[in-house]
Symmetry: C2
Subunit: 358 residues, 2 copies
C-alpha cells in the first residue's frame, strides 16, 4: 500500500474527525475507495473505535432510483436510527465513473432527496468528514494521468493543517465583524448581507467546524443577496456538465439564470424546494496545495484565489444561537475565479484584489 494512503487515513481519523475510543463510526466506502477504507479500518482498530462500513455506490443509486416509481417512504426508521446514534460519519469518496448516475431523472432524484431530509440532518449532526480517494475515474475527470492525480490529491490533503488554520483566522475575524460583502469580477457584481453570521475557519477538522478533507477555506452563510454573479469554473453537478452559469439575485432569491452548458441541471436544482433558489454559503478558497481545477468540488472550492457560492442549505455553524439559516434538500456549490481586476470587499474595505489578500 502507498504509504500516503495510510497518512491520509491517519489525517482523517486523528486531525479531521478526532475519533476517540468507543466512538461509533460509520465509514461510507466509495466504489473505488476500498484501499483507503482498509487504512481507515486499521486506524479505527488502533484507536479502539467501533466500525460499521456502508457502501456508497452511484450504480446502486441509479439502479434503485430508475426502477422505482418515484415515491419513497420518508426517512426509513432503521437508517435514521443508525445515524442518530453514530458519533462520526467518514465519507470516503472514490468513484469509478463520475457519470455513473447521470441518467436518473431529476424529479426522481429530488423526490428521493426530499424523502431523506431527517436522515441527512442526522448525518450532519455527527462529526462527519468527507474525503476523496484518488481513482482513475477522478483522474480522468481532472484530465490528468493517474500518478499525477495521486500526487495532486495528496499534495492538497497531506498539509500542515494547524499552520493553515492560523493563516485563515485573520479572514474569519474580518467576516465575523463585517456586515456586507461585495464581490466584483468579470460578469459579477454581487452584494451579500452577512451581518451577525459566523464565519468558519475551515481547516479540515471538526474541531474547526470543518467537514472536508482537504479543506482550506473560510465560509459563512449570507442572509440576503442582490446582483449578478458569473461562475467561470466548469463543474459536474449530478453527473452532468455545467459551464458559465450566471445567476441574478433580487431580495435573496434567484430571479433569472442562464448557462452556456447544463442549464437544465441548474433549473432542476433551483426547483427542488423553497430554499434551493437562495444561497446557503459564501466561501473563499485558501488552499495553495490545490493549484488547478480538477472538476471536483471538494478540491475546486478550496483553491486559493477563488470564491464559491452554494445554492441551498446553510451550515448551522454559520448561524448564531437562535437564528435559522436557509433550508433546502440541496447544497450545490458554484465557483468563480477571482482574476485580474477582481475585488472582494467587506463593508467597503478591500480584503482581496486580483484574488490575493491585500
Amino acid at each position: 500500500m502507498d504509504e500516503r494512503v495510510r497518512d491520509h487515513a491517519r489525517t482523517l481519523v486523528e486531525w479531521s474527525a478526532r475519533i476517540e475510543p468507543d466512538d461509533d463510526v460509520v465509514v461510507e466506502v466509495g466504489e473505488g475507495a476500498h484501499d483507503l477504507g482498509v487504512a481507515v479500518a486499521e486506524r479505527l482498530g488502533e484507536t479502539g473505535a467501533n466500525l460499521l462500513a456502508t457502501y456508497r455506490s452511484p450504480e446502486f443509486q441509479r439502479a434503485y432510483l430508475r426502477a422505482s416509481d418515484g415515491e419513497f417512504e420518508p426517512n426509513p426508521d432503521y437508517e435514521l436510527a443508525l445515524y442518530e446514534r453514530a458519533d462520526s460519519v467518514l465519507i470516503l469518496k472514490g468513484s469509478n465513473n463520475t457519470a455513473g448516475s447521470a441518467d436518473v431523472p431529476g424529479d426522481v432524484r429530488q423526490a428521493h432527496s426530499k424523502a431523506r431530509r431527517e436522515i441527512r440532518e442526522a448525518r450532519l449532526d455527527t462529526d462527519w468528514v468527507s474525503t476523496q480517494h484518488p481513482t482513475r475515474a477522478m483522474a480522468q475527470q481532472a484530465g490528468m494521468a493517474y500518478e499525477a492525480y495521486q500526487d495532486f490529491v495528496y499534495d492538497a490533503t497531506l498539509r500542515d493543517w494547524a499552520a493553515l488554520a492560523d493563516e485563515q483566522a485573520t479572514l474569519k475575524d474580518i467576516l465575523d465583524d463585517g456586515e456586507t460583502v461585495r464581490i466584483r469580477n468579470e460578469g459579477t457584481d454581487l452584494t451579500l448581507d452577512i451581518a451577525d453570521r459566523i464565519a468558519v475557519n475551515s481547516a479540515a477538522s471538526v474541531a474547526y467546524d470543518s467537514h472536508n478533507l482537504p479543506s482550506g477555506e473560510v465560509f459563512t452563510a449570507p442572509a440576503d443577496t442582490a446582483g449578478v454573479v458569473t461562475f467561470d469554473v466548469p463543474m459536474t453537478i449530478q453527473g452532468r456538465r455545467v459551464r458559465d452559469v450566471k445567476l441574478t439575485f433580487k431580495d435573496g432569491v434567484v430571479v433569472d439564470f442562464e448557462a452556456d452548458q447544463g442549464a437544465d441541471v441548474i433549473a432542476e436544482v433551483l426547483e427542488t424546494d423553497g430554499g434551493s433558489r437562495r444561497l446557503g454559503e459564501l466561501g473563499i478558497g485558501m488552499n495553495c496545495g490545490v493549484d488547478r481545477v480538477t472538476d471536483n468540488i471538494l478540491f475546486d472550492e478550496k483553491m486559493g484565489g477563488t470564491v464559491h457560492l452554494a445554492l441551498g442549505r446553510a451550515y448551522d455553524a454559520c448561524l448564531p444561537e437562535g437564528q435559522t439559516g436557509n433550508e433546502s434538500a440541496v447544497h450545490e456549490d458554484l465557483i468563480t475565479t477571482m482574476g485580474e481586476g477582481s475585488l472582494l470587499e467587506v463593508d467597503g474595505e478591500t480584503v482581496q484584489a486580483d484574488g490575493q489578500s491585500v
Copy 2:
C-alpha cells in the same frame, strides 16, 4: 450484465426474502459482489422497499482486528439499532481473496465475535438471506475456471425451488416424527437425539425458515450426540484449510478430536465458548444442482448425498415453543459424504442407503 445476475437478484428478493413494499432492507455487499448488488438494488427499487447497503470486507475486518488491542465494546448501540429495526438482511458474499483475513489471531477474532452476540441475534431475527456472487477468487477456491464456476453457481441457484420444497417435505416429516438418528459411514458411527425437534424444509426461502440461496437441505437441531464422526469433505474455515476432521462425542460434548489438516482451527472453534463443543445442526443435503465440492459451505452442505453437522449455535426454527437450543457465538459446519455402504437411520429404519433415499 449477464442476465443470470438479474435472475439471481429476482430469486433472492422475491422467492427467498419475500421483500414487500416499504420493507427496511440491509444489503451487505461483498468486495466482489458489486454487480449482484446493482441488480438487487434495481429489484428493491421496483418493489418499493428501502435500501441501505453495507460493505462486507474481509480486508477491512483484518486491518481492524489486527490493529486492535483485542478488547471490544459489546454490541455498539448504532449497529444494534440498525439491525433491530431492519426487516431483512441480504448478504451478498463474493470474496476477492478467500484467505483475506487468514492472519487474524484466533483469540482476537473470537473476542470480537463474542462482543457482537446481540448484533448477531438481531440479524438472525430478521428475514435474512445469504447468497453468493461468483467471483474469480471463489472459482479458484473451487479449482474451477471462471466461466465454468459461473455456470456451477447459477445451476445450483436458479432452480425450481417450489418443486424441491415438495420433494424435501417427505424427509422433513420423517425427522419430525423421529426420535433418534444414527449415521453409519466409513469412520463414522454417530447417534443423535432429535426427539421433539422440528426439521426445516430448507427451500431457499424465509417462507420455509430457510436463509440460504442456494439451499436444498433438510436440517434439525440435535439435543444430544454420542459416538464418532469423520468429515471427509475438505473445507476452509476462517480462511484456513481443514481436512479429515474426526470428532468424538460423549453426552453431547466433543471429548476428543483430530484432523489431518487444520487441527488448530478446530481447537479454536471448540474453545470459543460453552456451546461450541456441542452440535447445533444436523443437515441432509438434497440439491442435485450442486454436483461437486467447491470448498464453499453455502454449496457443499447442500450437495445431494451428503450429511453435515455444525458445531455451535442451533437455529430457533428447529426448536419447539419454550425449548432452548444450543447457544454459541459460532456455527461451523463440517460435511461427510455418504458413500457406498453408508446408512442414515431414523428410529432404526433406513432412510438413506449409499447416500440415496430408499
